[in-house]
């Protein structure tokens, strides 16, 4: 049963998507509620980004249905690898892009200036407003795009690989930031490859490989059987301080690459 005040934002019923003849998602059932903080995990090409785009509304399903809450505001944070970092925009110009409705004039209104300042301050990057987006660290860049999404006052935040290619410290910061945003009432769905550093820390996971293999709390889905069906390889699960730690089962399968000894 859904807790009181936990509204259904998006519901996917038996959604199937394909690029050409190749199915990317098959019969996916998924519900995103207003208190959700979910990670979608799966191997490359498993349909994670497509599922995110279905939730976003930029990919229409071939079959099945997508039901969205009326006037749902969705924020989207793209993969940092897909961003054109040479594009001439400053941090504040980038954040203001979220405002395309209601005002035709190119420059910021006084209210918009205050709102941009507020969201940048909330994310701790208010001193970077005039900087070019390329002149930022990985964590700061991620925050700029989260700020842009937040300026649209979303109820649901979708993020594509938010910790891809960032160091441990930045991943830690992003995770804490998202946790704070979720506590403030924002529903979050993200994709990630990082099972130990990211997925295991989230309250809810969806294991995807074209179809949903399993979904639920990390303890329930980060189990050998579900992971093997998701990734096609056997994995070993350890537990540390109540958290599952996933290990590739290379040693058992004798797949370790031997390095030549030094000086030989």
């Amino acid at each position: 049963m859904r807790p009181a005040g936990d509204a259904e934002l998006v519901r996917l019923d038996r959604v199937t998507c394909a690029y050409g003849r190749k199915p990317v998602l098959v019969n996916v059932d998924l519900t995103v509620s207003s208190r959700q903080f979910s990670g979608i995990v799966g191997p490359s090409g498993s349909g994670k980004t497509t599922l995110l785009r279905v939730l976003l509304g930029t990919v229409a399903p071939l079959a099945g249905s997508v039901q969205r809450q009326r006037d749902l505001r969705v924020g989207y944070v793209p993969q940092v690898e897909s961003v054109d970092w040479s594009f001439p925009v400053t941090v504040s110009e980038c954040v203001l892009m979220a405002r395309t409705r209601g005002r035709l004039l190119p420059w910021r209104s006084r209210t918009e200036r205050a709102e941009v300042g507020e969201v940048l301050e909330r994310l701790g990057i208010d001193d970077l407003a005039g900087r070019h987006i390329r002149d930022l660290s990985g964590g700061q860049q991620q925050r700029v795009f989260i700020a842009r999404a937040l300026l649209g006052r979303p109820e649901l935040l979708l993020m594509d690989e938010p910790t891809s290619g960032v160091d441990v410290r930045t991943r830690h910061d992003v995770l804490h930031l998202l946790d704070d945003l979720h506590r403030d009432g924002l529903a979050i769905v993200l994709t990630t490859h990082d099972l130990n550093g990211m997925a295991a820390h989230l309250p809810h996971l969806v294991c995807l490989n074209t179809e949903v293999i399993g979904q639920g709390a990390p303890r329930d889905v980060l189990v050998p059987d579900v992971l093997e069906r998701t990734y096609g390889v056997r994995m070993e699960i350890l537990e540390h301080a109540g958290m599952p730690i996933i290990l590739d089962d290379y040693v058992q399968n004798d797949n370790v690459v031997e390095l030549p000894e030094a000086g030989r």
């Binding site: 976003l56 509304g57 930029t58 969705v74 989207y76 793209p78 897909s82 961003v83 054109d84 970092w85 040479s86 594009f87 001439p88 925009v89 400053t90 110009e93 980038c94 203001l96 892009m97 979220a98 405002r99 395309t100 409705r101 005002r103 035709l104 004039l105 190119p106 420059w107 070019h132 649209g152």
Partner: protein, 288 residues
């Protein structure tokens, strides 16, 4: 010396040509920002060649040039936009087929039925001879129109140019914005063709925007700078064209190239580094 410099201003054709060249430079500089940032340089080059086919056909059929080349150019622009958005074939292949075929048709029509006269050379390389008051009014009208489109569409154009997928998800009709950009590009080429020449318009689209990018990291400043640099190269180029007795198109482009070289000398690798990646966006109008 001063008298020599001011002498051409006595001639009405020169004054008209100078106004047209200055506005043409500003217009191409403004539109060029989107062309460069969206990786559409090849489209600009191709579209200008495609319009030549319409110019040749309308000249031979006795149809009004603006109407004939305009319809041809807009049709080519929308066709290229449609093919690239649907990704039916590679964007550069589509543009190559449509535009070079159109250009070749123009050359063939002139070879078979026309005379390679002044209008033929002017269309290819640009000329200020024969620039009348109606051309002056036309270029001013088109520049004002495009400036209004950029001013009032600034936010949507910027979002679509930078991040088409998120722009679409945020409610921006990116297909309409892409089509609008193609129309703006086609109209701009049409309006500037006589002074700049179809073979050289692409350079006037690319150079001011690239120089502006070398000078700033801000999109709004890049728009203003590119427009100013374009106007300046048009003005200086047209004056030099008269004094050196070289066609206006090549002179304006060479002035632009000199501005680029000067900017590079001043900004060095820092400026050039800012333009890195401009060529990585591909030639597609469609979202990456």
């Amino acid at each position: 010396m001063m008298n020599d410099l001011l002498r051409p201003f006595e001639f009405e054709f020169f004054r008209n040509g100078l106004i047209v060249a200055t506005f043409a430079g500003a217009l191409c500089g403004l539109v060029g920002v989107y062309v460069v940032l969206k990786g559409m340089s090849y489209i600009g080059h191709g579209l200008s060649h495609a319009i030549f086919g319409g110019f040749a056909a309308s000249a031979l059929l006795g149809v009004n040039f603006v109407l004939g080349a305009g319809v041809w150019g807009v049709a080519s622009a929308l066709m290229i936009n449609g093919v690239t958005r649907r990704r039916l074939i590679g964007a550069d292949a589509a543009i190559g087929v449509i535009t070079t075929a159109s250009f070749a048709l123009g050359l063939a029509l002139f070879a078979l039925f026309g005379r390679r006269g002044r209008s033929f050379d002017a269309a290819l390389f640009g000329s200020i001879l024969g620039v009348g008051i109606e051309d002056v009014l036309a270029i001013i009208a088109v520049t004002v129109l495009v400036a209004l489109v950029v001013f009032f569409g600034y936010r949507r154009l910027l979002f679509t140019t930078f991040d088409p997928e998120v722009a679409e998800a945020s409610g921006v009709n990116t297909a309409r914005i892409d089509a609008l950009l193609m129309l703006v590009l086609a109209i701009s080429i049409l309006a500037t063709m006589q002074v700049l020449g179809v073979t050289l318009i692409a350079a006037t689209l690319v150079i001011p925007a690239t120089v502006a990018r070398m000078l700033t990291n801000s999109f709004s400043r890049m728009l203003l700078l590119a427009t100013g640099i374009g106007a300046l190269t048009g003005f200086v180029g047209m004056n030099l064209s008269y004094h050196l007795d070289i066609q206006s198109g090549p002179t304006i482009v060479l002035v632009g190239a000199a501005v680029f070289a000067l900017t590079f000398a001043v900004t060095g690798t820092r400026g050039l580094g800012r333009t890195a990646g401009l060529d990585e966006r591909g030639t597609a109008v469609a979202p990456r």
